[in-house]
Amino acid sequence: MPAPPAHRLRFLIAVALGAVLGAVLLRGFVSDASRQVADEAQERQAVVTLQALTSLVRRAGGEGDAVRSAVAAWQSRTPSAPQARVFRADGIRLEASTAPDDAGDRAAPRRLRREEKPLYDRSQRIAAAVQTNREEQQARKPEIEVAPAGARLSLAGPLEKNGAVVGIVEIETAPLPLPKPAGWSGFLLALIAPIAVFGGLAFLLGEKRLPLLAAAVVCVAASLSWMGRAAVSELAAQQQRAAEQVAERVRDQATVTQAVATAQVLPGAAAAPGSWDVDDFRQPLGLLTPDGSVNPQRLAQAVDTAARELRRTLLGAGALALALLLLVGLGAFNLIGRSLRRHRQAYLYIAPAILGMVVLVFFPFTYGVTLSFTDSNLYNTGKAISDVWIGLRNYADILGDFAFIKRGDGGSFVNYLNFYWTLLFTIIWTVCNVTIGVVSGLILALVLNTRALALRPIYRVVLILPWAMPNYITALIWKGMFHQQFGVINQVIQLFGFPAVSWFDRPASSFLTALATNGWLSFPFMMVVSLGALQSIPADLYEAARVDGASRLQQFKAITLPSLRPALVPAVIISVVWTFNMFNIIYLVTGGEPGSSTEILVTQAYKFAFERYRYGYAAAYSTVIFGILLVYGSIQNRVSRATEA
């Protein structure tokens, strides 16, 4: 007897789960965004303070008593940054300090103590960053370091004299105010309202599946969109407030520096205070006017961008919540749960294997695919993945570059680093190898299958030997045999009076060496497979054919080949995949020589990762290789299923 439908209950649970997930995610993202705005405002204010002090130190000549008194005067008027230090790299000298510890016999000026190495290293790092950015004419390394120090921020920026970095100015802010947590009322409302409303609607609608579904989706979507809308406008207001705070700090620091400069009679003119609002690379953010008030147009733009970004994130979260609702509401989870319960034992048995697969296969695989969407390279290995995210650009670079023949002044030449050239080469390499393997393996199998052959077991063992040796050893031996001067192959060639060939100098001859090596390695497998299949062909088939007057060739075509097919097709499929990714042979025998012309896709990916240090690009390359093999595999699967039938 089928159970009575319980759509209402199930949809109620689904709405509750969807609303909880949606509200929790939304709240998480919104408070993240709001904390980011708050942090950024604090950081910008601190940077403004640092830049103001730096300009003051520079005007005071960068060293000596003038700097010390200017810093002290500035400190007495700046409670927002309770300590400041000026460090000069020449002489490893603490030039000025208002830190409470640096009093008495530790008062500036003095040489740094041994335990103050971090300050020195920081100065060196910043000087190197400024130099690097200048040389590369781009902003790659942060010139202002912002580091959290407990609840405070510690900032350091370069102190320059005549364009050269001579030290750093470092400040520490007052403990930052804790960010105000977002209110709970909106969250609770977004949680309770859809459940209550849906409860009422469900009562009215009765056990009808489609109307219930529509009502559930509408309830959750409406409440989440209301919550999101409120959050976006709240964020805009917060950004407005943050901008005003920064502007206020700029004006405050402008008066402070002005007052100090007048009191100390410092030379030089005051810089435009609006220019103190810069990013880590000391590039102006442009959100303030030169005199330090908020630039409404630029602010509106910034608010717009941030709102658009938040809206996109929230839409994603909402979609996730709705997906959960649908899955639960339409009974998918119910089904999975029932299956888990029914086949408890089976799932228990495969659990260890699944765990192993997750750790050893799925995690690295997912990580690799994720990496392929980033610009991860040697310079940014320490950064979070979201900071180096570049979307599909790696794929566009790899797949969008069709220029594999380039025209230079010396005629046209092949660009061996091009993906399509390497793909073409890999396909030629695979086809040649599999052909050689199958043909030679089959011929040897036919020979070994001769009944009256003496010493057959010995031949068989000898012919399997190449397969039994580790393939990198075989590869190195073959590489040695192709050596231009001492290799046995050239010795033989010279024996017949021909000049020695330098095998690795031309793409074609270099390809031949790899082909020979891999041919040597691949025939035993094909031979064993064919031999097994040959021996299982019943002899009476041949007898009957002979009685009917079939020739040897006819027998081979009509009996041997069709009987071999079920064994050979899977072997060929496997060996295509092996050869396609045959890293060892190419890497060890030709090494891609000459000039990367004999690289296959995997060795090329390896070189992008470990010679050119472009990890993200190499990951994208590997993902493309995976895609190619996936397409190949699925087509092969279909074809071989057809052959089985």
């Binding site: 740094l112 060196q124 130099q131 590369e136 310079y379 010396g410 240090y613």
Partner: protein, 402 residues
Amino acid sequence: MRTLLGIAALALAALASVPADAAEIVVWHAYRAGEKSALEKVAAAYNSSHPSTKVSTLAVPYDAFADKISAAVPRGKGPDVFIYAQDRLGGWIEAGNTVEPIDFFLDPETKARFIPTTMEAMTYKGTVYGLPLNYKCITLIYNKKLVSAPPKDSDELVAIAKKLTDKGAGRFGLAYAYSDYYYHAALQNAFGGYVFEGGAKPAINNPANVKALEYLLKWLDKDAILPAEPSTALITALFNDGKTAMIFNGPWFLGEIASNVQYGLAPLPKIKEAGDKPMRPWMTVEGAFVAAPSKNKDAAYDFIKYLTDKPAGIIMALEGRQSPANQSAYTDAKVAADPVLKSFHDQVEVAVPMPNLPEMTMVWSPATTVMNSVTRHAASPKAALDAAQAAISKDVAGLRKK
């Protein structure tokens, strides 16, 4: 019961005799044979004279060494000190949290004790990251039976070499791996060539590099004193058979010279066409580095300072057969009397440290292509270098773009 207590008390006493705060310094290196035992001897000497520190050394197979450092050190699983050549230094610094800057510890006296160029190899963007331990570079090695006095300049070199060359009999006056960019760099530097300019901007197609390649072609074609396709194996065979009189090679080659060959060492000749400037080989400098995540950086620095001091340098030179970077080690009577150590010390005067920029890894493959195509006359020096410049610039830009 009483005996048990007694044993416990004894054990406690034994534990207490080791200072509780003994800093443990783990050193990773890739040395074998003589170099390894020399390093272990220095470490043992340090341990006996510094009871508050315990240094232990661990030999790591060379093939895996660099990757092991890259993987283990930034995650805090590595040693406190490691020894490696300067070519990977830039990469490790850019990757971060691997090599500790030691500029701050470094006093002027310590800095002054090293050959200045070896110190330069340890410096990256103005900051010193390690203390130089030893250096390797190529020099002129000649067969004393065939050459009575080694050539001082290129004219003499060509004159001697021409006399001794007989291509039909497979004899060559001069042989070296000239199509290997590392070896060619000596000639390139004589003409004032370089790979990077203004920091890390690739500039391999500069006019000096073109001139150096054209000069190499003169030796190869006009003077015809060089064998074709000079593989390392070929050079070894020619030198040991007495079929070549002079080669340019480094300390690693000395072990391969047959015992019946009487050889001498001399500085690489001056090049007349380069304004009488000497050939300046690239040198690799092995340095001792403090690992950034080490918990005992002070003690680690103290050890590498000891390791690169004069007494340690003498041990490493005489027992490890290394050329120490510490200048004062050469004032030792035994070191000064050693002809090999002295010759390499003479050569290092003009040697140039190989760039320690991470961008250098992107140079090797295009540069090899240049050398192969130019020495086989498949391209003119200028065209080949222009192509290499384009390839290197593209790779470097690919690495740096944001």
